[in-house]
């Protein structure tokens, strides 16, 4: 008994000593360590839940990796570690400014990432400007956000005006005889911006816009639109909005056999869960900010004569799959990218000071797994993404499986476009 007690106490003491040894060095070694807080709000309970959740996953993966690699060490020896702080904005403007103010003034956020939607971003960007904190936007693709005179807001994604224009180029290249386009889009800020830009682009190329209509955000019954589409007899149907309405639209287009040769919709098709639609997903094209299949690595950067930074596409995909056990979508990559941009800018600036970091971002022109990234620095469009461009995916059949292939731009394509839809 006695020996047992002795042994036990010895064991306890040993555990304490070991524990102390294990924990202490980390705290004493570095001269000074700072934790940088990245603040953002996300739509956990609103209608942009799917998009927003993936984005948080991406950000968290970046945090995990940067901290795992020992953080960033500045030239003065300060080691920077990162953490996130976020709230649910319920996809609503009501409190988004209050939450961002809380992030900056109470939670001490050093950098901000935008909410998902453009309207919420406009409101929260005012808070970033007011307190002089750099905000990276992920989502928030409307060009108008960057035409409001902000100086600290930087866009990760390709802006709305260039979201679907590539689909028109794809159509032109695949079918020179095609001449009629129907545009049916969600009636919200982002999708309307996309549709308006698409409309004028297609008209300039000589296409006839045979239908241009918006649908309410909550729309579930697309029958009236599909009837109109059938009557207009277009070669291509372009438009959509977000995930929910987009997948509903795609399903009904399929069920009603709307009969166009090409269907390209916003946001929904690149999401891996779009495949749950089964046959209705087949052949649908969607613009994507990034795809796991995209081959973007250092060799490409050499061609362009710019720096390659961060992991390759394959590395990112593998790390994400390991952490979340699902394929990353472009929203996940976008979240990660926002973090990566902050990391790069801090390294370039060798400082976390807002002015230095903003200057570093202004001068940035790099290639990452996500694609090229650089920002407009003019007064009228400050922060607008000018380096990055979209790629276009299409769901194709591979035996019984549905696979998402890159079909445009052709130099990045992983498969040929199936055209007309259903011809496979």
């Amino acid at each position: 008994m006695r020996t047992f007690v002795k042994l036990l106490s010895l064991a306890i003491i040993a555990a304490f000593v070991l524990g102390a040894v294990a924990t202490f060095p980390a705290k004493t070694h570095a001269q000074s360590e700072r934790t940088i807080t990245i603040g953002f709000t996300a739509s956990q309970t609103g209608k942009y839940n799917v998009e927003s959740t993936r984005q948080i996953n991406g950000i968290n993966l970046w945090i995990e990796q940067i901290n795992g690699a020992g953080g960033i060490t500045l030239s003065n020896g300060t080691v920077l570690k990162f953490e996130t702080k976020f709230y649910d904005d319920e996809s609503s403007t009501d409190r988004v400014q209050e939450l961002y103010t809380r992030l900056v003034t109470q939670d001490g956020a050093d950098f901000l990432i935008s909410p998902y939607s453009s309207g919420l971003t406009d409101a929260s960007a005012l808070i970033a400007e007011q307190y002089g904190v750099v905000m990276l936007t992920a989502g928030a693709a409307s060009d108008s956000t960057y035409q409001k005179g902000f100086t600290l807001v930087y866009q990760t994604y390709t802006p709305a005006s260039r979201y679907l224009t590539g689909a028109v180029d794809l159509l032109a290249a695949t079918d020179p005889d095609a001449s009629r386009i129907a545009i049916v889009h969600e009636n919200d800020k982002f999708s309307t911006d996309v549709a308006n830009a698409l409309n004028s682009y297609a008209e300039d190329l000589g296409y006839e816009i045979v239908l241009f209509e918006g649908y309410d955000s909550g729309t579930t019954d697309f029958a009236p639109f599909i009837n109109k589409i059938e009557a207009a007899d277009p070669d291509a149907i372009l438009g959509g909005g977000h995930f929910q309405d987009g997948s509903t639209f795609a399903r009904q287009l399929y069920e009603k056999d709307a009969g166009a040769n090409m269907i390209a919709l916003l946001v929904a098709p690149p999401e891996p869960t779009f495949a749950e639609l089964g046959d209705a997903a087949l052949g649908v094209v969607g613009p994507s900010q990034w795809e796991p299949l995209a081959q973007i690595d250092a060799s490409k950067a050499e061609e362009l004569g710019i720096e390659f930074y961060g992991p390759s596409s394959q590395e990112f995909t593998a790390a994400y799959m390991e952490m979340y056990d699902e394929e990353p979508s472009y929203h996940a990559a976008g979240g990660y990218m926002a973090g990566l941009l902050i990391q790069k800018a801090i390294e370039d600036a060798d400082s976390t000071d807002t002015d230095d970091v903003a200057e570093a971002l202004d001068n940035l022109d790099i290639l990452t797994f996500f694609g090229r990234n650089s920002f407009d620095t003019s007064d009228d469009n400050h922060g607008l993404q000018v380096g990055h461009s979209m790629m276009y995916v299409q769901w194709q059949a591979d035996g019984d499986e549905l696979v998402k292939q890159i079909v445009f731009p052709f130099e990045a394509a992983s498969a040929e476009t199936v055209y007309p839809i259903g011809s496979e």
Partner: protein
């Protein structure tokens, strides 16, 4: 109290009437409940802006934001209470006035570079006119039919604005950041102006709802609430009184819409005419006690604070909506008169202080 036939009366009689009126009103205006509420709202609003040193301004920033939300709710809810609490007419779609006011205000700011106060006046006027026009039609309806009509109007308005190009259609309107700097120096300064405007509106809403309640007109409204047909026989003209009450309850929300969307710098149909928010206002009134002056103020304060706590707490943030729902249900079932109503009923001395 009418001026009819005054010229037939001797001078001093008129003077006596005026004096009596004056006495009645000074007595009414010296009600402790009114002053407690005004001072309370003022202190609530003043504390976060009392110290303007940069350090304090930074430290109080979150408090300023959440107080702004509370003050805003006080105006909206006290205004709605003039219709709901006094006449018993449930306006579900009251947010239509807030949304329209916001749109008109932002339109004048963007297109005509109007200053905030002028835009607020425009927003309030637009809301008042809309209430007059709508009210003349739908106030003929009673009970649930009126409530449903207000929903229909809000939805129709939202759909209309989504198609109305001068208001930006589905994209909405957006203010350039420059506007704040050029007019107010910086966004901080602009926000301080908005904040003070909101504080002013909150006090105005309290005073307005008190004046209405303690006037003969207000008594008429409450007669309508108790029995509309009987009130008609008793000489209240329900139809006209209701329209005036509807207008009074619409004007301040129209002005609040201008301030809020000026602060957000952007307005979209979905944010301006959100039915859910409209129902939240009813919840706040019920929490505090409907038909009272303090009730809506306390309801707004309690509800918004609760929402902040639930939204930002690690534990509750996933089920915050369900928790709020449970609490609301508990109050409806067990304290239907709201906090003020309950206190007045159960603790007799509070009747003199609470109003």
């Amino acid at each position: 109290m009418t001026t009819q036939g005054t010229d037939a009366k001797p001078q001093n009689e008129l003077l006596n009437t005026l004096l009596d009126n004056f006495k009645i009103w000074t007595k009414k205006l010296s009600h402790p409940g009114l002053w407690i509420t005004i001072v309370g709202v003022f202190i609530l609003g003043y504390l976060p802006i009392a110290d303007q040193s940069p350090e304090a301004a930074f430290a109080n920033a979150t408090a300023r934001e959440s107080t702004f939300t509370i003050l805003m709710s006080i105006v909206l809810v006290s205004s709605l209470n003039i219709l709901l609490g006094y006449t018993g007419y449930v306006s579900f779609g009251h947010i239509v006035f807030y949304g329209l006011g916001g749109y008109v205000g932002l339109y004048t700011i963007i297109e005509h570079q109007w200053p905030l106060w002028k835009a607020m006046a425009a927003g309030g006027a637009a809301a008042g006119v809309l209430a007059l026009v709508l009210g003349s039609a739908i106030l003929r309806l009673r009970g649930a039919y009126f409530a449903l009509a207000t929903i229909g109007i809000n939805e129709a308005m939202r759909a209309f604005v989504s198609n109305y190009d001068p208001f930006g259609g589905a994209v909405g309107l957006s203010i350039h950041f420059r506007v704040y700097r050029e007019t107010y120096g910086s966004y901080q300064d602009a926000f301080l102006v908005m904040y003070k405007a909101m504080l002013g509106l909150a006090i105005a809403a309290v005073v307005l709802s008190y004046l209405v309640k303690s006037s003969k007109f207000g008594l008429g409204l409450m007669a309508i609430r108790e029995d509309e047909d009987a009130s008609d026989i008793m000489g209240v003209i329900p139809y006209r009184s209701k329209i005036i009450a509807y207008m009074l309850s619409a004007i301040l929300p129209g002005m609040v819409g201008v301030v809020f969307f000026f602060k957000a710098s952007t307005i979209e149909p979905a944010a301006a005419f959100k039915l859910h928010t409209s129902i939240e206002w009813l919840v706040m009134i019920m929490l505090g006690g409907f038909g009272t002056i303090m009730g809506p103020v306390l309801g707004a304060y309690g509800y918004q604070n609760l929402r902040t706590i639930l939204l930002t707490s690690e534990f509750f943030k996933n089920i915050q909506l369900a928790v709020a729902g449970l609490m609301l249900l508990g109050i409806i079932l067990f304290i239907p008169a709201g906090l003020i109503g309950w206190l007045r009923r159960h603790i007799s001395f509070t009747r003199r202080v609470l109003t």
